[in-house]
């Protein structure tokens, strides 16, 4: 928010509250420890949020959406943005007060993970109403400034190499949230490789965020939050591993294949894609390691077997642990084909905003209640997700 935004902001404020903030109140919050953000569409301000951050504690002071634009998710987007901003600032808890009678706002805050932590008696001077004090604990993940080392485009795919500030251990299947230059929200991407301080991400530039990521230049600094989520568990006993990758699903299964191979666990990797351009030779070379049996499947038959990965699945699944990552339709089909007694782990790709379970944007309704793909996954055992892919 800038000073020139204030006429529009004040109009929304006046239309929203019985005791609206004045110009001076907003001006004070335009510099740290105050932070103010506007939601804008085509130059028109539709909503705003104001917060303060002191040490590791954040306080949401004001959030409002212009009356005609309510119930369109703008409030949720603003709140998500504030949560993400807090994560970047290393905030460990975010607090707010809300009128006890404001059920819509309370519901939104609860949806985002806030819980009632207390009550402030007669907080609002106009009506003498109590305020509910709501708080959200934010997990402390490691936010790093990562330096771009190389961007290699290979057919429709691209490998982004970044140098981290410090070494971080990771499990295959975990992911990062990475800043896409010029975009407001960070993007979730599977960790394709992480050795010492070198982070590798495999991406396919199709959306505005991923396109912005492949246009970065060497030496540019990007913020990265990692490592996030839960990775793939190792197979039990003498089980062999079956890895089923659909298209970009290889991004999370590639490091798993290498890890299993280096542990001497036999790996059979089926990688299906539209055509041969999806299989860059340098990646194939790495996947030819001794204990990896790699099979390629293309829809047009331009490399490997022709067809879909779900059409070439084996009949025998004894002593196998299956790991799958790919488009939703492929995953659904795989789960319906593989016998129920076979252990199957799937990595689900859902739209995420914060990546740490704070914003509740990636809820998965499964057996045993709702789960968050970013926090409880992205790797789930088949039983955990039930029929939520349907």
């Amino acid at each position: 928010m800038a000073e020139e935004d204030l006429p529009q902001v004040l109009a929304i404020e006046k239309a929203s509250f019985t005791t609206p903030w004045g110009r001076w109140a907003f001006l004070v919050e335009l510099k740290p420890p105050g932070y103010a953000f506007v939601y804008e569409e085509e130059g028109r301000i539709l909503g705003y949020a104001v917060m303060r951050i002191v040490e590791d504690e954040g306080h949401l002071m004001n959030l409002s959406v212009a009356p005609p634009w309510r119930k369109r998710g703008i409030g949720s987007d603003l709140l998500r943005f504030c949560i993400e901003f807090c994560l970047h600032k290393g905030v460990s808890s975010l607090w707010l007060e809300v009128r006890e009678s404001n059920e819509a706002a309370i519901s939104l805050y609860q949806k985002m993970g806030f819980a009632v932590k207390g009550r402030r008696k007669s907080y609002y001077q106009d009506t003498g109403e109590d305020a509910l004090l709501m708080g959200l604990s934010l997990p402390r993940k490691i936010l790093q400034e990562a330096k771009v080392k190389a961007v290699r485009t290979m057919g429709p795919l691209c490998i982004l190499e970044l140098s981290l500030q410090s070494e971080i251990p990771f499990e295959p299947g975990q992911f990062v949230m990475i800043e896409a230059p010029g975009r407001p929200l960070m993007r979730p991407l599977s960790i394709f490789g992480l050795e010492k301080k070198m982070l590798k991400l495999l991406l396919r530039p199709v959306g505005t965020g991923t396109r912005a990521l492949v246009e970065v230049h060497t030496g540019q600094t990007l913020r990265v939050l990692l490592p996030l989520g839960k990775g793939y568990p190792m197979p039990q006993g003498r089980q062999k591993a079956w890895l089923l990758a659909g298209g970009m699903g290889i991004a999370s299964l590639f490091p798993l294949a290498l890890k299993l191979s280096r542990k001497g666990i036999p790996v059979r990797l089926l990688w299906g894609a539209r055509n041969s351009s999806w299989f860059p030779a340098p990646l194939l070379w790495q996947l030819t390691e001794k204990s990896i049996s790699l099979e390629l499947i293309t829809e047009d038959g331009s490399m490997g077997r022709k067809g879909l990965i779900t059409e070439v699945l084996p009949k025998e699944w004894e002593n196998a642990t299956v790991y799958a990552c790919g488009p939703k339709e492929m995953m659904k089909r795989i789960l319906s084909i593989i016998p129920p007694h076979v252990k199957v782990y799937v990595s689900l790709e859902e739209r995420m905003a914060c990546g740490v379970g704070a914003c509740q944007a990636c809820v998965l309704s499964g057996r045993g209640g709702n789960k968050l793909v970013c926090r409880d996954g992205p790797v789930f055992e088949r039983e955990e997700i039930g029929d939520s892919l349907s």
């Binding site: 080392k149 190389a150 290699r152 290979m154 057919g155 190499e161 970044l162 140098s163 070494e167 010492k196 301080k197 070198m198 060497t218 041969s276 351009s277 299989f279 860059p280 030779a281 340098p282 194939l284 070379w285 030819t288 390691e289 001794k290 790699l294 390629l296 038959g301 331009s302 490399m303 490997g304």
Partner: protein, 150 residues
Amino acid sequence: MDLGSGHIDQALPSFETLRTKFAHHELTQRAGLLIGKALFARGDYKKAIEALLIGTSSPIKEIRGEALCWLGKAYWRVGEEEKAIGAFERAASQGGEIAALAYVEIGNIKAEAGQREEAQSAYREALKLTQDQALRARIEKLLEFTREEL
């Protein structure tokens, strides 16, 4: 020279001294390979290229071949395909196992450029140069992948 994690920065000044005072000494060339590999590992590809180029002047065939191979990889990382192929071709001319690996890299670059016949030809050259069964199996797999639709 200890180039383990975090030690490359300590080693660089010594390398600079070597490079300045004993530019053509075999020890400097050997150091060029070691420093180049360490710089490569942390993604400093342009600096790695500078160091590896020194290693490529080594009179020792093995050092020279290895430096050329890493040089090719570094060039590829920074998008210099032609220079990468040039370095790999020189590495291939050194003979031995390193030559086989260099041909594999040439094959990979060709395959990625959609030149499957050239890729196959490079993989076949690699097969001729190695008796290592594990490496042969990996190369044969690449040949199999690039075989179709020729």
